[in-house]
């Protein structure tokens, strides 16, 4: 007997069982079930929720792989720097190396595994309690979470945060498709406010920097944003920033891979190009305003904000996680605005507020996640007013006709 039909028989056997949803989740993950709808007309399309989710995961895989190598590379580069050796990053020379991969995977893969195991366990428990099918929403969240945390984050903290994020961020609203806040960002926000010493500062972004603090082998883990906030010299070149040879959260550093992911999402019509574009536009606009403020001489070098305000507006896209947020977080179809005009407003404000928080509050290492969460909350309001204005426009049209 084939696996497919024997799985079907197993399913029939355990129908109505408490753990049927759990079984079904694994079943449909690999195979299309035998049951089909009966009667009526049904149009079947290939891109169901599961396929959509898998496409997003595919677009994230390059970032994950790069993050693994980068974790190793940043660690060894920082160790070298502490010994007075300045490394010149070269992709095949000292980046794609066995030792980078080995160190990176021992640090990053546990994050991925913990994220998935804990998150899916919570999902399964809720599915069994509620007696509905397990939803696919966590497949993407589980992949996003390890990419947006610092590499040295203790695993138990991630566990607590994932449980919190999945329950409070998603399940209490009714599960996938009903949540107001992006679950992955809820998890990051929880981590940030609960354990700020592990989520910000100049140590956590490079593996080993925390445990070596105060010893003779101390290494630095400062990010570019951190250096700018303290008006320090930046040691990374623009091409380093673009390719991603810089410290930061695991998956956010490589801008080129994020852009490739974005093109993939736009090509497969999964991510909204409107949101991506308007987020970037908003960020550039805010950056331009700050540049103007500096150019007009309204603030001087003595100001706390001078460092970040004088960053050329386009360079804001290369540092921090604004691109990653714009492509993978802001476009979450559940929490984003739904109307076309609303998407432009929603994205623009995300970019605008992100850069504003980044510049005005260097205490927050990155404002992008806060900006997206804030706009998640406002998305329904934006949609409401877009629809209202449409209704008004059409009513006026009727009036004109009848008048």
């Amino acid at each position: 007997m084939e696996i497919k039909s024997s799985l079907h028989q197993l399913k029939e056997k355990f129908k109505g069982n408490t753990f049927a949803p759990a079984f079904n989740a694994f079943h449909t993950f690999l195979y299309t079930p035998n049951d089909v709808t009966k009667g009526g007309t049904h149009i079947k399309v290939a891109d169901d929720l599961k396929r959509t989710m898998n496409m997003v995961i595919l677009s994230l895989v390059p970032c994950l792989l790069f993050g693994i190598f980068n974790t190793g590379y940043q660690h060894f580069a920082a160790v070298d720097a502490a010994n007075g050796i300045i490394r010149e990053a070269s992709f095949l020379g000292n980046f794609i190396t066995w030792e980078n991969f080995l160190l990176g995977s021992t640090k990053v893969l546990p994050l991925v595994i913990v994220s998935y195991v804990v998150g899916l366990t919570v999902e399964f428990i809720f599915a069994v309690i509620k007696g509905h099918e397990v939803e696919e929403g966590y497949l993407v969240t589980g992949m996003l979470v390890p990419l947006i945390v610092p590499v040295d984050l203790p695993l138990w903290m991630l566990t607590v945060a994932v449980i919190f994020g999945v329950i409070i961020g998603k399940e209490i609203f009714g599960g996938t498709g009903m949540n107001i806040l992006n679950p992955a960002l809820t998890i990051r926000a929880f981590l940030f406010f609960a354990y700020p010493t592990w989520m910000s500062g100049d140590k956590v972004w490079v593996h080993g920097a925390v445990e070596r603090t105060g010893t003779a082998e101390a290494i630095s883990g400062e990010t570019i944003l951190g250096s700018y906030a303290q008006n320090q010299e930046i040691i990374y070149s623009l091409s380093d920033m673009f390719i991603g040879f810089i410290p930061g959260s695991v998956g956010e550093t490589s801008k080129i891979l994020i852009i490739l992911g974005a093109l993939f999402l736009i090509f497969t019509k999964i991510g909204s190009w409107r949101i991506m574009l308007s987020t970037i536009a908003g960020a550039l606009f805010m950056g331009l305003i700050f540049n103007q403020v500096v150019d007009l001489g309204w603030i001087t070098e003595t100001s706390n904000f001078y460092g970040l305000m004088s960053v050329p507006f386009w360079e804001h896209l290369l540092i921090g996680s604004i691109l990653f947020g714009a492509v993978f977080m802001a476009t979450d179809p559940v929490t984003a605005a739904q109307t076309l005009k609303g998407k432009w407003i929603y994205g623009f404000l995300i970019g605008f507020i992100s850069i504003m928080i980044r510049v005005f509050n260097p205490g927050y290492p990155e404002g992008v996640f806060l900006a997206i969460l804030l706009m998640n909350v406002f998305a329904p309001t934006i949609d409401h007013y877009v629809i209202e204005s449409n209704v008004k426009k059409r009513l006026n049209r009727i009036k004109l006709k009848t008048a």
Binding site: W156, M157, F193, A194, Y195, P196, W198
Partner: protein, 214 residues
């Protein structure tokens, strides 16, 4: 013979469960968020509210027939203000450190919607003894939630209970801290208090399903 008649004991017991001022009526949330970072502060706040509500309800009930209805709100405010000042002075005299932690929130008992709510809804129309029981009952219902929230926030946020370390010393890295445990700073922020109250409401409604509105 029972201490209280069935009708009277309902006045005490209802606010503890199915008619809880915080989780069902969603009143008095502000103070529940503001002062519950420590268990001790929660308990002292609860006692203060217990005193103000018990006494206040009796006073209002006693004068309910002689106060003209158009100025009743002012009279109620004066009664609460008097009682709150008494509490504030007692705290300053006998528990100065604590009164500093509670700071403005003792004074702000006056704005606690539960108190005005009970004056209006109950004491104005009932005899002193029943009003007293109603005040005590509602204050206890308030206290119950405050203590639960305060317990979890102090335990998880500071790793202490009533000021005594539970998980070991965070600075000397003993006990759980030696294993890498860290206090959850989010617990000390007010949003987390709101979430804890929300979780209590969630648990309560899933236990007694008749409370769920459609």
């Amino acid at each position: 013979m029972a201490l209280l008649s069935k009708r009277d004991s309902k006045l005490i017991l209802d606010p503890l469960s199915d008619n809880n001022p915080i989780t069902i009526q969603v009143l008095g949330i502000c103070s529940a968020l503001a002062i519950t970072a420590e268990l001790e502060a929660s308990v002292v706040m609860s006692i203060a509210v217990l005193f103000v509500m018990g006494t206040g309800n009796v006073v209002i009930s006693l004068i309910r027939n002689i106060v003209p209805s158009r100025i009743r709100i002012i009279v109620q405010l004066i009664v609460i203000a008097t009682l709150v000042v008494i509490v504030d002075l007692v705290l300053k005299a006998y528990a100065y450190e604590l009164s500093k932690t509670l700071s403005v929130f003792v004074g702000l008992i006056i704005t606690n919607c539960i108190i005005m709510g009970r004056f209006e809804a109950f004491a104005l129309g009932n005899a002193p003894w029943r009003s007293f029981l109603d005040g005590i009952g509602n204050a206890l219902g308030y206290a119950l939630i405050l203590v639960i929230v305060g317990f979890f926030r102090e335990l998880l946020g500071s790793g202490t209970l009533w000021g005594y370390p539970v998980f070991g010393d965070a600075i000397d890295m003993t006990g759980l801290y030696a294993l890498g445990y860290e206090n959850n700073g989010f617990m000390l922020l007010s949003p987390m208090a709101l979430i804890v109250v929300g979780i209590i409401i969630w648990i309560q409604r899933s236990k007694s399903t008749h409370l769920i509105e459609d």
